[in-house]
Structure formats: structure tokens, C-alpha cells
Symmetry: C2
Subunit: 309 residues, 2 copies
């Protein structure tokens, strides 16, 4: 069976059945002109859109359709985490050729819905269309107390830079798959709870999720007139990371600095904010201090992130 | 100049510059991990996603990039209109090959931003990625008083069916372009003000916007156990429509019934609700009563809408 055998409305009906009835913040879910979501008094709405394109962001020969769906939603929700928002719901736009196996479409849906349940962010609508290549475009909605969203701005010289979890695991998994040693199965965890906690902690200045790579995303926090020299030896790495990189003939420093798709939270705090250990306790996650912000232009070039064009 | 010459971040910077600073409901716009929007006390959030794919929804040889952007946003906002919501903002995901002329990307952006200004729905974020074909995926957010959203459900036998404006203009414009007689320039008007008024008027039951075609969209309001025989002679048509269809060798009834993309509001009202003339005054638009709902299965087949797979 292929998409063309069930058609647009057949596919939407399958997705709606799998998603089940509206719950949580959802007043009206899949099946109308639009979905309707409840927010609490005094909250603002947070919205982020991410696209995932075949052969750019995923490859059917390296990962299951379910993994693609899980990964895509994790990446999108990670932007809510970086704002300190709680997830409300998300929409999904699937574009695919009519010859796409129905099992693949069902796998993408299953992955999205697994993530939706895990993170309390139900699928409430979207779009299906034919296209020459397969893509998923997700829009996640969240809510945050008015004026309390964590943004990328505000960092000054003297602020300290911290990061949750470990860096490089996604890059290592991709390097393994590139080398033909196994398929991609790892799904990063969007740091939703940690983000919400950060939004309430004093001394926290700015936050971003590590999607393009540590060096590139740190650049987004620092802007053109600040820098923060990073010592790769101080970066938090997954267990056995250096040896695993060596075995693949890859430079562990590059993978940790520029790898991307870790979806850890990278944040800056004022000089007198508590230490990493105290943040780790409050966030319920490992937290590592990786540098101090200085005035002055960053060095040109270096470890860049992913370039789209 | 092509997309590859400015890169992902260069393109985002161009779009952000063209969009200008955050206004209206926007607490935080383009340039962070997510956007932040204000809603009023007692409001719910309405969200809808629409995708527009090259050669499926638009063709660069038949319409300008600006027209594509304008049209896409109008179609997406029309879903907010059908819910009775006021627009808050929208996100745009652009996927395109690196060889896409920068002028085309700028044209798409210009069209989106023209619509954004016209309808008070600013562009607050999105995504740019490379892909083999060009597509735009838009997500519009709106707000509606809690519990007052217009939905597709609730219609019963005896209810009357009304529609705003005229039907068939978009189908006629496409037929003209198909015949090589001119490019597509018409942009439908999302009936945002009329939708908000409908949501407050007593006797209004259900509402949908005419996107797939009158017959198909009426089917969404009626479901499997109601029908509403339509007399093409009673449909509101654009001036000169029948003659223009004849000149192209097209069946005007088919274009009016199944054409699609009119983005008028199709709604049902209880038997004793006011007449079309009264609705016309309240909505500030022509309103035509086109039929009465009856019990029983609709006739099979007939004038269908657009099939995606």
C-alpha cells in the first residue's frame, strides 16, 4: 500500500485515529479548519517551526521512519525548552510523493505520536500534500508566564557559560552511520523540565538549545562583540566518546564543538550566580561550566555549524 | 544572486530586516529560538498549518513569487477566519534549492509581508532549509474568546446553508492561466472580519472556508448522514462568470461547484435564524442562501475537490 492508495483524506483519517481524542490543553484537535488550545491566565504563547527534509535532515536508509518522527519532534520541542516554555501542542505538515509506502507514513506518525505522549504535546493538526521529496515541517506551541521567556539576548562580558548534559553524542551516532556501522536510533531528549526551571532561577541571563553545534550556537548568544574561548578538554562528553571517535578516525574535539543536534541547553549566568553543581541540582541534570564571556570579536572561522545553502 | 550566495543565516537576516521590529501581539519576533505572543485574558489560541509546494500549489511560470506569498498567507489566514479568530501572527518555513534566485526568495517574502501588514498578522519566525523543490509551509496563530470558536460540527437537518461573496473566481483565473491567457494575479481575501462577526451571531451553527471547492467543503460540514442538494443557478457568481467560462470552453457549473480556493465562508444556521440579507449587513459582505440541509446520504461522486495523492 502506498499513499496514493489511501489519498489525502484517508491519510488524515489514519493520523487522526492514531492521535486519539483531544486532551490536555486541546479544546479542539485534528479535523477542523484549525485547532483550539487553552492557555492559563497570565501566560504568553510561544511558537517555533522546524523543517526536516529527506536527504538533508534524514535518510530512510539510515534510520526508521519512527526514528525520524521522534527525532523531528524532539528537535522542535527543544526550542520550547530553550524558551523556558511548557509544551501545549504541535502541528505537522507532511509532504511526500504518492509512491511513499503507507507503512513509512504510518512510521513517521507513530514516531511523532510517541514523542507527543512522552512530552505532553499532542498533535492537533497540520497538512498533507504531495511533493517530489518527503519532508516534515513541525510547529510547536508552548506557554510561558508573561515576561518570563528565556531569550538569546542579554549576555555581557564577565557572564559565565554553562551547558546541560553531554555534547557530541548525535554527531558520533551520525559518524557511525556514515561509516556504515549501524543505523541511527538515538533520540535526543528535549530539556523541557530544565528549561522551565531555568526560566525561574535568578542570575540566568540567556539560553539557546544546541542544535547547530556548540560553537555556532554559542555565537548566537554572544553576538558580534563578545567572545568566549572554549577549551575542548573542559567540555562534557558522553562516556567513551574520545575512544569511539578515534576508532572512527574522527576528531573528537570537532565532533563535540561543531557536531550539533545535541539539544542540550546552553545558557549564560551572571558572574555571581550559583555554581554548576547548584544548577545541576535544580535542573535535575548534569551541568558543566565551559567558559567565561569576554569583550571583543570572536576569532574568525573555527568550528562552524551546519550550512543550509 | 542565488540562495547559496547568501546562505541560511543571510537569508534569515534579509527576511528579518524586511519584516521589521515586533509589533501588535508580538512580544518577541524573528531571531530567537521561538517567538512569544500575547493573548488577552479569556482567549484561546487557534492554530492552523498549510503547505504550498511548487508544481502542486503554485508554478513560477504562471505567477510572480510575490503573488505566491500573498496567496499562501491568504489561504492560511482563511482557516482562522473560518474559526472566527482574530489573527495574532504566523510562521513561515521556506524550503528551496540553493540555486533559487535570491530575487524569488525576496519576492515570496515580500508577498508574505504584504499580506501580514494587510491582515495584522506579523511574520514572527519559521525555518529555511534547502530542498530539491521550493515550498512554503505556513502556520497561522489566532485568538478567540474561550468556547466561541466556530467549528465544522453541529449542523442538523433543516438548517440552512449560506455563503459569503462569490464562487468560482479562483477556478476561472486558473482556467485562464491554463489556457495561456494571462498570469495568476488575483489574491483571495480571507474573510477575517466576517468570521469574527459570525462567531458572535446567534443561530450560526458551523462554518468552513471554501478551499477544496464548494461541494467538497459542504461535505465536511454535513458529514456522512446529511445532504444538501445544490442548484448551480442559485450560486453567487462573479460578474461575467458564465460568459468567461464559455469563452474558455469550460463548464461554469463545475468551476463554481468544485473550483476551490475561493476562501469564502460557507456556514450553516438554524431554521429560524435571520435571512441572508441580514447576515450580509452584519458581515459587510454579500451573503447568499444556497440550500437547506436534509437527512440522508449525499449522492456518491459528483463534483469532488482536489485530490492530493
Amino acid at each position: 500500500m502506498r499513499l496514493r492508495d489511501v489519498g489525502e483524506f484517508g491519510l488524515i483519517a489514519r493520523i487522526a485515529r492514531a492521535a486519539g481524542p483531544a486532551r490536555g490543553a486541546v479544546a479542539l484537535g485534528i479535523g477542523d479548519d484549525a485547532a483550539v488550545l487553552r492557555v492559563r491566565r497570565g501566560e504568553q504563547v510561544v511558537v517555533t517551526t522546524d523543517a526536516f527534509v529527506e536527504r538533508v535532515h534524514f535518510r530512510f536508509d539510515r534510520q526508521s521512519a519512527r526514528h525520524i518522527g521522534r527525532f523531528a519532534l524532539a528537535a522542535c520541542l527543544s526550542d520550547l525548552a530553550a524558551m523556558g516554555a511548557r509544551p501545549l501542542a504541535f502541528t505537522a505538515a507532511l509532504a511526500a510523493p504518492p509512491r511513499l509506502p503507507l507503512a513509512t507514513a504510518d512510521g513517521l506518525t507513530a514516531g511523532l505520536l510517541e514523542g507527543a505522549r512522552r512530552h505532553g504535546s499532542p498533535l492537533v493538526g497540520g497538512n498533507v500534500t504531495r511533493a517530489r521529496e518527503t519532508s516534515l515541517t513541525l510547529t510547536a506551541l508552548g506557554a510561558v508566564a508573561a515576561g518570563r521567556a528565556l531569550t538569546r539576548s542579554g549576555t555581557r562580558a564577565g557572564d559565565r557559560v554553562l551547558v546541560t548534559g553531554a555534547l557530541g553524542a548525535s554527531a558520533l551516532a551520525r559518524a557511525r552511520a556514515d561509516a556504515g556501522r549501524g543505523r541511527l536510533t538515538r533520540v535526543p531528549e528535549p530539556r523541557l523540565r530544565a528549561g522551565r526551571a531555568l526560566a525561574t532561577l535568578p542570575g540566568v541571563v540567556a539560553c539557546i538549545d544546541v542544535s547547530d553545534g556548540l560553537a555556532a550556537d554559542l555565537g548566537h548568544l554572544l553576538g558580534p562583540s563578545l567572545r568566549c574561548p572554549l577549551d575542548p578538554e573542559r567540555l562534557p562528553l558522553p562516556r567513551g566518546f574520545q575512544a569511539a571517535c578515534r576508532a572512527l578516525g574522527r576528531d573528537w574535539r570537532r565532533l563535540a564543538l561543531a557536531g550539533g543536534e545535541d539539544y542540550e541547553l546552553l545558557f549564560t549566568v551572571r558572574p555571581h550566580a550559583p555554581g554548576a553543581a547548584r544548577f545541576a541540582r535544580r535542573l535535575g541534570l548534569p551541568v558543566t561550566e565551559i567558559g567565561v564571556v569576554r569583550a571583543g570579536r570572536p576569532a574568525r572561522g573555527g568550528a562552524g555549524g551546519f550550512r543550509h545553502f
